[in-house]
């Protein structure tokens, strides 16, 4: 898109005379300047107000009661649910799992996405083809994903164990061991979301002027160095953006671990020992299987607060990293 060249330069326009008609139009402009912005951002807040805020507040209300899903309000209990939650070993377990899965799946994934974007940014033949390709994992229906990964990580007949056996390693029970299940699920998340984030980075990279990059290379800096010193800082806002969205998504991880659970949503508790149950899975179990809506709402609210904290931390850390080098 062209910029600026056939528009006037930023020099200010000559003052207009203040006739009556132009007074009105100037007043309209002032009105426009002051109030249109609010008008323009209003749709978001209206939609969010009705479909986001209202359910949010209602859920907060529910969390202060003993509220059963079908039978409804059973009585006000104040902060009892919250107190119970803090003493609930399963909650802390889920929190730990969520954080572990988050770190394992998000950090390598964003780095890989960055690398992938860098490669895709180069001159490639059939650009469209590559980009469509890396986005495919995100497009495939979840049922297919579940099936493929079940085949991969099956204990007795899975492909991964088969390959491990070829190099003499004993078969791993991917669902039973905590560390194995976390690795497996992280691989699922990475597989699904790396391409997505890579394309976001790619879009950002393509608005960066290549001149500095090329100049640095010509000046003798390695590709790698110039990538880290020039390209990455110049897409810093985008990186921060993906860090935040990945944090939010990672802390709310539900689909991938649930698919990994042979019990599914019917009986699954994230493994026989809750070894890979995340907070949202626990929320779902309490709310939709055990019908304790009050407790489920409590988990949801605590999750919300945790996400705020973690996102804040990540943002600060990432900001520092992305501006170094």
């Amino acid at each position: 898109m062209t910029t600026g060249h056939h528009q006037r330069s930023g020099a200010s326009a000559p003052l207009r005379s203040t006739s009556g008609r132009e007074n009105r139009s100037w007043a309209l402009t002032r009105f426009d300047n002051r109030y249109t912005p609010y008008l323009v951002i209003a749709p978001f807040f209206v939609v969010f107000g009705i479909f986001g805020l209202y359910p949010l507040l209602y859920t907060a209300w529910v969390s202060l009661h003993d509220w059963q899903l079908i039978d409804g309000d059973q009585g006000f209990t104040g902060l009892d649910n919250y107190a119970k939650l803090l003493g609930d070993a399963n909650f802390w377990n889920a929190l730990g799992n969520t954080l572990s899965l988050f770190v394992l799946s998000t950090v390598p994934q964003l780095l890989a996405a960055l690398g992938l974007a860098a490669v895709l940014d180069r001159g490639l033949r059939g650009r469209l083809f590559w980009r469509a390709g890396v986005l495919l994992p995100n497009v495939i229906s979840v049922a297919a994903v579940a099936l493929v990964f079940a085949q991969l990580y099956g204990r007795d007949f899975g492909v991964v164990n088969h390959l491990l056996g070829l190099v003499g390693i004993d078969p791993v029970d991917w669902h039973a061991e905590t560390w194995a299940s976390h690795l497996a699920i992280s691989s699922m998340v990475m597989w699904r979301w790396t391409g997505y984030n890579a394309l976001i980075y790619l879009a950002a990279m393509q608005s960066v002027p290549k001149d500095m990059h090329e100049a640095a290379v010509l000046d003798g800096a390695s590709r790698w160095r110039s990538f880290w010193s020039i390209t990455v800082p110049s897409i810093r806002p985008t990186i921060l953006f993906t860090v935040i969205t990945s944090t939010i998504g990672g802390m709310q991880l539900f689909v991938e671990p649930q698919l990994f659970d042979p019990g599914g949503t019917a009986t699954g508790t994230g493994g026989s020992d809750r070894q890979f149950q995340t907070l949202v899975m626990y929320l779902y179990e309490k709310g939709f299987r055990l019908f304790d809506a009050g407790y489920s709402a409590t988990i949801a609210w605590v999750l919300f607060l945790v996400v705020l904290v973690v996102a804040g931390v990540n943002f600060t850390v990432a900001r520092r990293i992305a501006s170094q080098g």
Partner: protein, 295 residues
Amino acid sequence: MVSVVTAPPAVQPGRDAKRRKASGDRAGPLLHALLVVVLAASVFPLYFSFVVASKDNSVLGEAVPPLTPGGNLIENITRVFDTVDFSLAMMNSLIVASTVAISNVLLGALAGFAFARLRFRGRNSLFLLVVGTSMVPAQLGVIPLYMLMSDLDWYGTLQAVIVPALIGAFSVFWMRQACEESVPYELIEAARVDGCSVLRTFWHVALPAVRPQAAVMGMFTFMTAWNDFFWPLIVLDPNDSPTVQVALSALASGYYTDYSLMLAGASLAVLPVVAIFILLSRQIVGGIMRGALKG
């Protein structure tokens, strides 16, 4: 000598950035090989779905997973259309995803433009509020939302799925970013001086400037809406007006899943998304090319 254009990193003039030179930046064979591996890993599950869809359920029990297509594809696809009203489901998903995507792009761009380039009181705190709203987990408000839908009498209608998704924090975020990158203040000043109202400035100046980012976001939004499963399953009627994902779950009903049937449906469900991607991808690539010509 090479003249270096020293644009400070914070301001991106956007589309007129000089692009790669004709030579010197081509990816070597090693990188191509790496890309092939990545692509293979990405495509494999789709291919696998296709293979299973072209055989029958029992192949999944084999010790070695099936890797070559069989001959049952047409039959399974026919069964898909016989079992559920799949074309209706595709149509519904298309309507839902398109509406949500377009709405998010327009409304998101509007809001993003406001947050990025307009000055008004409370701008920063309001934006922080937008960021905060994105941290709310989706599953949190399902029950109250469901009750709201029944009060509005929207159960089983497409509105129930479309309206809550018309504009999201992600879109506002993203488009604000885009406006910051691609819409310089000078342009806006010029337009305002020329007498354009805020809205006209947006329409004629900002929106065209962020077209590539809008295209990317539109596509992502389309995909997310297309794949959305949890909420539509709760609020839509599988026999009345389902979306594709809901219809797929109906295909998978029963104690055991007829995977070949369901994956036939899943393979079909992928096609429109790929089509939209190809459609929109021109916007992204096209924007770059125009900038390169300017160089």
